[in-house]
Symmetry: C2
Subunit: 341 residues, 2 copies
């Protein structure tokens, strides 16, 4: 049967006495097939000059050379920079990157997950929506063998690798920076209580307060609303109800900007009356009046590392393991908003 | 042959004496099929309770209920806001949105176009990469019947609808604002000379200068480099070589921020020594020191309108026509960087 006419997968499998799916996986070097079988399949494929049909091959093996990136939003310097890191690594491996936005909505995230489950992508990088409480929609895909890596906004119930920063430590550092600058009544602004990063940042804030002999006050913890205008109003209200507030720790960039607006609206000077520190990757941080002291996350590197873990799984046909998780370091950059340079 | 067993497209076509593709198009209400034939096909389909196979249907008709958005970058408040407008309209129509970034590279844009040509999306919204000089890669897709709408960064050689702002008029207005504030030596910072929006913004700047009796000076026109650091250095160099420069018109947000950095580095005060105006959708514009006077484009509305034109074409199976093009108005917001409030 060794002829010069093109041979298809079924014929190749017939000659080997194996199923088409076994042959297909053996040709892709899948770890599910024993090395001996892989070698036998690949040898015959070379002998008969077997050429896979690229379209059929895509449909069968879902090798679209595409990764999906699921993000809450892009109007955020952290995610914009993380995307750049992801794309650098993906392009170096010849992979396309598709970006899907959830707008922090759980329902939209579920729709996106079901869409991705239709074989459109080979793997997924995800930063969870703030409204997401369960991760069953991603776990279903993971159980079906779709590699997933979580970054920044992660949920440990989804059994896969995560790439995060030291949220607890950074929040401790930010709070301690305000305490050392003389603040004693520090408001904590967060996105939501759902996210593990929000919880860890709150824990770091609490720990620093306690280490400086202060008792955490739940009245000073504010969760974000849907719009910037609503956030500015809530922060202004907090500052009026608690005029002793002398520090604000904004755990997301957007809330640091809203804090500036609220202080301006109330005529409170930064840093004399209220000192502000925020998690931010904003390029303009140093140009604000005054410059914003930031906890700057290595957003680009987070994107790169998450993509590397995913592409390793894809190219080696290995599952993504929780043990591959990484935690990167953030940096405190002191500027005028806390009385620095 | 009217049985309760499922009937497939081929059997339906056989009963009607039509080709499968004609029946398929008639079922989709395509304008390519006469109303009488559409009615005849749809009537029989209802009688026999014909249920299309969704996967085969997608493959055949490329109805993926997905639109692709091709963008230069997302670390830009204009594009981030335009995406939000696009997604609002797409979701209301039950369409998914995939985002592809070109990083302003022509080669990457060609790769993306070829990828999109493989039937992954039903239609495309594109803002061209600054390095793109020809649009053959999109024109090929357009000729194959894939609806395309261009927004913001457009090329008229691609025969399709565009959604833009009044770039000429806004640039005239920005330049005139600086002239009225007393500037006489106004630098013009642009992305590239390739883009039609760059050319129109330059023309508006030239026209305003001439109307105020000034001769455009090519030495004052600067094209952007790849990195912010390189842009800051070029702007600083320009300000040193031409110490008479008393105004900067940055035609993109990024270059307005780089101008702030350059002035700060040289110790030039804004607005006393140099006044700055920039195209920008930056939320933090009012928080800068001093607040940045902006030409603010209706980015969200641009995204909405572009998506509406595309979805009209998709849902009505009509081609996208250049005559559907729209031009929206931008707004001048005066702040401290030009001596305003």
């Amino acid at each position: 049967m060794l002829t010069s006419a093109p041979i298809n997968l079924k014929q190749l499998a017939g000659q080997l006495g194996l199923s088409s799916s076994t042959v297909s996986r053996a040709l892709r070097d899948s770890y599910e097939i024993s090395p001996a079988t892989r070698e036998r399949v690949q040898q015959l494929a070379r002998q008969v000059n077997y050429q896979p049909n690229p379209i059929a091959s895509n449909l069968r093996s879902h090798v679209s050379k595409t990764i999906g990136v699921v993000l809450p939003q892009v109007d955020n310097h952290f995610f914009a920079s993380a995307i750049d890191g992801i794309e650098e690594v993906a392009q170096a491996h010849g992979y396309h990157v598709l970006i899907y936005l959830t707008h922090d909505q759980a329902a939209q995230e579920k729709t996106v997950a079901s869409f991705l489950g239709q074989g459109r992508v080979d793997g997924i990088l995800v930063a969870l929506a703030s409204a997401t409480r369960s991760v069953g929609h991603f776990d279903k895909l993971r159980q079906r063998g779709l590699p997933i890596v979580q970054f920044d906004r992660v949920n440990r119930l989804l059994d896969t690798a995560t790439v995060t920063t030291d949220d607890y430590g950074s929040a401790y550092q930010a709070t301690e920076h305000l305490l050392r600058a003389g603040c004693r009544t520090i408001a904590h602004l967060r996105l939501t209580e759902n996210l593990s990063i929000s919880r860890r940042r709150l824990q770091g804030y609490h720990a620093a307060l306690r280490d400086y002999g202060l008792t955490p006050d739940p009245e000073l913890v504010l969760s974000a609303s849907d719009t910037d205008e609503a956030n500015i109003a809530s922060i202004a209200q907090l500052l009026q109800q608690r005029p002793d507030t002398d520090g604000i720790f904004a755990t997301v960039e957007r809330l640091a900007l809203s804090s500036y607006h609220a202080c301006r609206r109330l005529g409170l000077s930064i840093p004399q009356t209220v000192k502000i520190i925020g998690f931010s990757n904003m390029e303009a941080a140093s140009l604000l009046a005054p410059g914003l002291t930031t906890i700057t996350q290595p957003a680009y590197a987070i994107g790169q590392e998450a993509a590397r873990i995913l592409l390793h799984a894809l190219t080696k046909r290995r599952p993504v393991l929780a043990s591959q998780s990484l935690e990167l370091k953030s940096e405190l950059v002191v500027r005028g908003s806390t009385g620095g340079a």
